[in-house]
């Protein structure tokens, strides 16, 4: 009996468990999935919670409901991975040996990385919306807020879903307009990047959106500390920006278990071959989703595309063949822009987001790099797609490999 172990049953781990359970014979293989708790969170839904559009009920479901039958599910913290011994030690003492290991432990915000962030006013004036607790605390605060300076801040790149803080800013503009408060709210977007986004064409377009929505942009601001008493953030080179409410995306890091295992980079991300998704740690370890150190976006859509590639490569590895499929860095992100509209971007390692129609060239129904109502419906539909198709490893009408069809340079 050979053993397959998957660490993390979030987006990526759940997809892989479903795909593998469909093909690995139970006579020859056991599949074990490990996660620390019983609930699966639809993280893209956190974005809508501060504005009262979603409630926690909409984004939290029992993890086991999305995992296949006939596999072992272990609810325990991962203590340390020991590649040389081909085993994983769990908290509580259990040890799991494996023939193949997939690490899908994701990324999480670590506010403690920034001096002053976790002071008395944490989740009172200073919020994150990358956790359910942060997003719900912020919802309570925004509900009764009467106006002032709202600062939206990215501490440090990379972060998962790099468009989420922009979407948050656009939705805030809509939310306060809707409440008749927009003239009393100043919104400033503070980023370490040179502009609104990482890729030049999309950055210019999204920069124009910020202007149009009267959101001020402070670029190249590398946040060094938060002064909760004086209500300001201070950059490493001494610039200061005051706030009444700070909505921050703290430093994102891979899990502590990766640091304990001794093979993570300076942010606990795992060195991974950017095409085959095989770890650089050992040949029988593969990495999927936000846990990798790939120069690709950390997003659920990316985890889904990667899973298609990794699935093929794992079947190769099982047959003792070199991995044949190559991940191209494909990412596909809806960007909610407020007032029931949205944008869509589609890109990979080599090609930046371009305008056009998607997924059917010339037809759509979605428009790339353009603000439409249909793109907003796409974003809202994504929640259903996530729970019902994506996690189950079902085929979506989007290829893992990016296509140029329907795009204009």
């Amino acid at each position: 009996m050979k053993k397959f172990v998957i660490l993390g049953a979030g987006t990526a781990g759940t997809i892989m468990a479903n795909k593998l359970a469909g093909v690995l014979s139970r006579d020859d293989w056991s599949i074990t999935v490990v996660d620390r708790d019983e609930t699966h969170h639809y993280q893209p839904g956190y974005l809508f919670i501060p504005f009262g559009i979603y409630s926690p009920r909409d984004v939290v479901k029992p993890r086991r409901d999305y995992l296949p039958r006939g596999i072992e599910v272990v609810m325990a913290g991962i203590d340390v991975i020991e590649p040389e011994q081909n085993r994983v030690r769990l908290q509580g003492g259990r040890v799991l040996g494996y023939d193949f290991l997939i690490i899908a432990t994701g990324a999480r915000p670590v506010p403690a990385q920034t001096e002053g962030m976790l002071g008395d006013r944490w989740h009172k004036d200073v919020f994150d919306f990358y956790t359910l607790e942060g997003a719900t605390a912020l919802a309570r605060r925004l509900k009764h807020w009467e106006g002032g300076r709202l600062v939206v801040n990215i501490v440090e790149m990379p972060i998962k879903c790099p468009v989420a803080p922009l979407e948050f800013s656009f939705l805030a503009d809509w939310f306060f307009t809707d409440r008749g408060l927009r003239d009393k709210v100043e919104i400033e977007y503070v980023t370490p990047l040179p502009g609104a986004f990482t890729k030049p064409k999309a950055s210019a377009l999204l920069g124009d959106f910020l202007d149009k929505k009267r959101i001020k942009l402070a670029a190249e601001f590398a946040t060094g500390s938060v002064d909760q008493g004086a209500k300001k953030i201070v950059s490493w080179d001494g610039r200061e920006i005051g706030y009444d409410i700070l909505v921050t995306v703290p430093t994102n890091m891979g899990d502590e278990a990766i640091a304990r295992s001794g093979f993570g980079d300076e942010l606990n991300f795992i060195p991974t071959d950017k095409h085959t998704l095989r770890s650089k740690v050992k040949d029988n370890i593969f990495v999927l989703g936000d846990a990798t150190d790939l120069p690709a976006s950390k997003a659920g859509s990316v985890a889904h595309f990667q899973a298609d590639i990794l699935f093929e490569n794992i079947l190769d590895a099982i047959d003792d063949r070199p991995p044949g499929a190559k991940f191209d860095g494909h990412a596909n992100c809806f960007i909610e822009s407020g007032f029931n509209k949205g944008l869509l971007i589609d890109f990979n390692y080599e090609t930046e987001p371009l305008p056009g129609k998607f997924p059917l060239p010339g037809v759509g129904p979605f428009s790339l790099l353009e603000e439409t109502k249909m793109n907003h419906y796409g974003k809202m539909m994504f929640r259903w797609v996530y729970w019902n198709l994506l996690l189950r490893g079902a085929e979506l009408p989007i290829e893992a490999e990016m296509t140029m069809a329907g795009k204009r340079r």
């Binding site: 190249e220 490493w236 300076e266 976006s297």
Partner: protein
């Protein structure tokens, strides 16, 4: 690809002025590049950073992030910003004669 003459050497740079062959670099070249970036004189601390950047580029094919610089070169983040005002990772890469770091996505 533009070619420039820096410290009497002929050197290829990209559109943003990053050297495309790090082997053409020497301390004299670094001094000129530093002045162009508004750094009048290079001290020991600058050199620790520049040498770390070059070593990292040689082994990894890319410049380090600021976080990695801080962690492994022993120069604290705040000092990095003092040494290379306005963006240590990019500025130090330029002066160190390596390609523009891929940085973040």
């Amino acid at each position: 690809m533009p070619t420039r003459t820096i410290a009497n050497k002929s050197i290829d740079v990209d559109a943003e002025g990053f050297m495309t062959n790090y082997k053409d670099w020497d301390l004299e070249v670094a001094k000129v590049l530093a002045t162009e970036e508004g750094i009048a004189a290079l001290n020991d601390r600058h050199l620790i950073v520049l040498n770390f950047m070059r070593k990292e580029f040689e082994t990894k094919g890319d410049g380090p992030s600021i976080r990695k610089l801080t962690k492994e070169s022993g120069v604290p983040t705040k000092e990095l910003y003092e040494l290379f005002p306005g963006g240590p990772a990019k500025k130090a890469a330029k002066i160190a004669g390596i390609k523009k770091p891929h940085g973040c996505i």
